[in-house]
């Protein structure tokens, strides 16, 4: 049972504002991912929750208790570090037992109690047979499990993870993703997870907080983040390949609003006509997978020239120029491999206009 609330958190390092006025509420038993490019302040935010950094402004609450001035040890949290931070001079058993051993008297535990708990948690993470080894003798995946075990043994209120999977190889990472999520749901521990890997975020999170330049740009479920980006940054950061960006201008003709884009024109949906003005610059966001591709002209389609084809197994990514007659405008389109495409070919695109995002060119915010 634990909620975490961040209120107006600001953290500066010298002249650099690492975290700029962050407000975030994490619900009980929720798995929240802080996602963003390196240097966006996500790790600093996590460290502020942990108590390893002191915010210059703002308060941190855990279960409605103001913990801003408390030491990490008094916050009842656990953290998994990117490099695991397993104590190299201790055996796996001692590493896992460490959080209990140092508070043994206070918690009123006997050594036998601790031994039982260590075995219990080791069993949960399938590392019972590693307990006598030293961290240096373990593989990356095993070290990862030990680090998770150490973070879980106290049954903390909040579980913090700083890119815990980034040191694992690709296959193991996929496996651990699912396992971590299962573990979190089973134990019901409120979790804050930091990553720059959008695939990890989309697959694990209950909610994602996308960060950029010290600010939270959008908070939402993976679906919301993916389908309804509130800012052009979210669209271009998430998805692989990310959302295509096309710069267009609003035009008015016969009392009708049009988007004048490189290579095509399109009438603006009625819902938006109140927001836009003539000559306003906007950004069209098109997800690569929401575009229909055809070799023959379709009604209302966009003509495009294939520059490069990137096969991906069952799918292929087409790198296209949608303005073959004018200034080169590149977009990427994902398509199932049913037909063979080759570079230089002319094809026709039909975007799913219900799933197109429109952003203000000046502010980058979505127009709704």
């Amino acid at each position: 049972m634990a909620k975490v609330r961040l209120e107006n958190i600001v953290k500066r390092f010298g002249n650099v504002v690492a975290v700029n006025n962050i407000n975030l509420e994490i619900r009980d038993k929720e798995f929240v991912v802080l996602l963003g490019p390196s240097g966006c302040g996500k790790t600093t935010t996590l460290r502020i929750i942990a108590g390893l950094e002191y915010p210059d402004e703002g308060r941190v609450y855990i279960d409605d208790r103001d913990v801003t001035d408390l030491e990490p040890k008094d916050r009842d949290i656990a953290m998994v570090f990117q490099n695991y931070a397993l104590y190299p001079h201790m055996t796996v058993f001692d590493n896992i037992a460490f959080p209990l051993m140092i508070k043994r008297k206070k918690l009123g535990l006997t050594k036998e109690d601790i031994r039982k708990k260590v075995y219990e948690i080791a069993k949960l993470l399938k590392i019972e047979d590693l307990l006598k080894r030293k961290p240096g003798q373990l593989s990356g995946g095993q070290q990862q499990r030990v680090a998770l075990a150490r973070a879980l043994i106290r049954r903390p209120k909040v579980w913090l993870m700083d890119e815990p999977l980034s040191n694992l190889d690709a296959l193991l990472r996929l496996e651990m993703r699912a396992e971590l999520k299962r573990l979190q749901k089973r134990l019901g521990i409120t979790t804050v997870y930091v990553t720059h890997d959008q695939a990890e975020a989309l697959s694990m999170a209950d909610r994602i907080a996308v960060m950029n330049k010290g600010r939270i740009v959008q908070v939402g479920t993976p679906e919301e983040i993916y389908l309804k980006p509130k800012h052009v940054f979210v669209g271009t950061f998430i998805g692989s390949p990310p959302m295509n960006i096309v710069k267009c201008v609003v035009m008015v003709e016969n009392n009708k609003y049009y988007l004048d884009c490189p290579g095509f024109r399109r009438e603006i949906p009625k819902t938006l006509t109140k927001i836009v003005r003539e000559n306003m610059k906007i950004i069209l966001g098109i997800r690569p997978e929401f575009v229909e591709v055809s070799k023959k002209p379709l009604p209302d389609s966009i003509k495009a020239k294939i520059l490069v084809v990137e096969p991906q197994g069952s799918e292929a990514i087409l790198n296209l120029d949608i303005n073959p007659e004018g200034e080169e405008t590149l977009i990427k389109v994902k398509t199932r491999v049913t037909e063979r495409f080759s570079s230089g070919e002319i094809i026709y695109l039909k975007p799913d206009w219900t799933r197109i995002a429109i952003f203000d060119y000046e502010t980058g915010k979505a127009l709704e």
Binding site: L52, K73, I77, A78, M79, F81, Q82, Y87, R154
Partner: protein, 302 residues
């Protein structure tokens, strides 16, 4: 092909080998040879005389003590051992705790530099400074003790009394040598991943627990270096004793290297001087060899 390469290697090594042979190997062999020579022929006579010597200013162990009730002098060898026993733990502990405490303090580099001054100044100057530090009228130590209200030795010049001469030199050498220990520990501490300490903080450890359960074990390699280097320095100690007390008063602060020098320069007894040198060399070799083995083992496993 391989043979010519070998020859070229040898050619380049030759000047070095000659240099080593003339200036390092010859004196060592010479010293060992001389240590066995006596006017009456060759034998262990010099060693026997050196070890059983009872005059306070040259004895290695347990000299005739004029005032039996209150030693020192205990003999130069014992003094060396006492030196290690007091100096080594203080230097190791101070270096470690200062490196840990100063790590997160702003301006700690200034403090570290002041400590390191002890390493930079020549030991001869260091010896003189120790004399001043413990001087009854000028010294900083008696003044500090006076302000703390500790009476007794306060107005005496420590180096002039057999009871305090040795301990004042040992304490003075703490100041001269802590800079070394602090520097090694600071570098080692700096290279520790910060996340170990942060993880311990989050796991609930107090500052004490972090220091003793995490930092001290992780600084093991630095500790080996500091312990060995300090031991060797303590066993070979000469210059600060020579300058501040010349082993006195009455041999009460004598050390082995000084005994060797006194046989050589005062008594002109080269045989016994060499014998002392060989004994001292063998004693320092014990920690030295252990250290080199340790380092070699470390290099192999890495």
């Amino acid at each position: 092909m391989k043979r010519t390469k070998y020859k070229i290697t040898l050619l380049f090594l030759l000047p070095e080998l000659i240099f080593l042979a003339v200036f390092v190997l010859t004196p060592i062999i010479g010293t060992v040879v001389i240590s066995f020579l006596t006017p009456g022929g060759a034998g262990l006579d010099n060693y026997y005389k050196v070890v059983t010597e009872k005059s306070p200013d040259k004895a290695l162990v347990l000299p005739d003590n004029i005032a039996k009730a209150r030693p020192p002098p205990w003999g130069a060898f014992i003094h060396n051992i006492v030196w290690v026993a007091i100096h080594l733990p203080i230097v190791v502990f101070l270096g470690m705790i200062l490196a840990y405490l100063l790590h997160e303090v702003r301006g700690s580099s200034i403090v570290k530099s002041i400590f390191f001054l002890g390493m930079v100044i020549p030991m001869v100057v260091g010896g003189l400074l120790i004399r001043f530090m413990f001087d009854g009228t000028l010294g900083v130590v008696p003044v500090v003790l006076k302000t703390l209200g500790i009476k007794g030795l306060i107005s005496k010049t420590w180096t002039n009394y057999p009871q305090t001469a040795l301990i004042s030199l040992i304490l003075g050498s703490v100041w001269l040598w802590t800079g070394f220990s602090l520097t090694v520990y600071s570098a080692a501490y700096e290279s520790l991943p910060k996340s170990y300490i942060e993880a311990a903080k989050i796991d609930g450890a107090s500052g004490f627990q972090i220091f003793f359960k995490i930092v001290v074990p992780l600084l093991k390699h630095a500790t080996i270096i500091v312990v060995i280097m300090t031991m060797l320095w303590d066993l070979k100690i000469f210059d600060i004793v020579y300058v501040s007390t010349l082993g006195g008063p009455g041999g009460s602060s004598n050390v082995m290297a000084l005994v060797m020098y006194l046989y050589f320069a005062r008594s002109l007894d080269y045989g016994r001087s060499s014998a002392t040198a060989v004994i001292l060399a063998i004693i320092t070799l014990i920690p030295g060899v252990w250290f080199i083995r340790r380092v070699m083992k470390g290099a192999k496993t890495r």
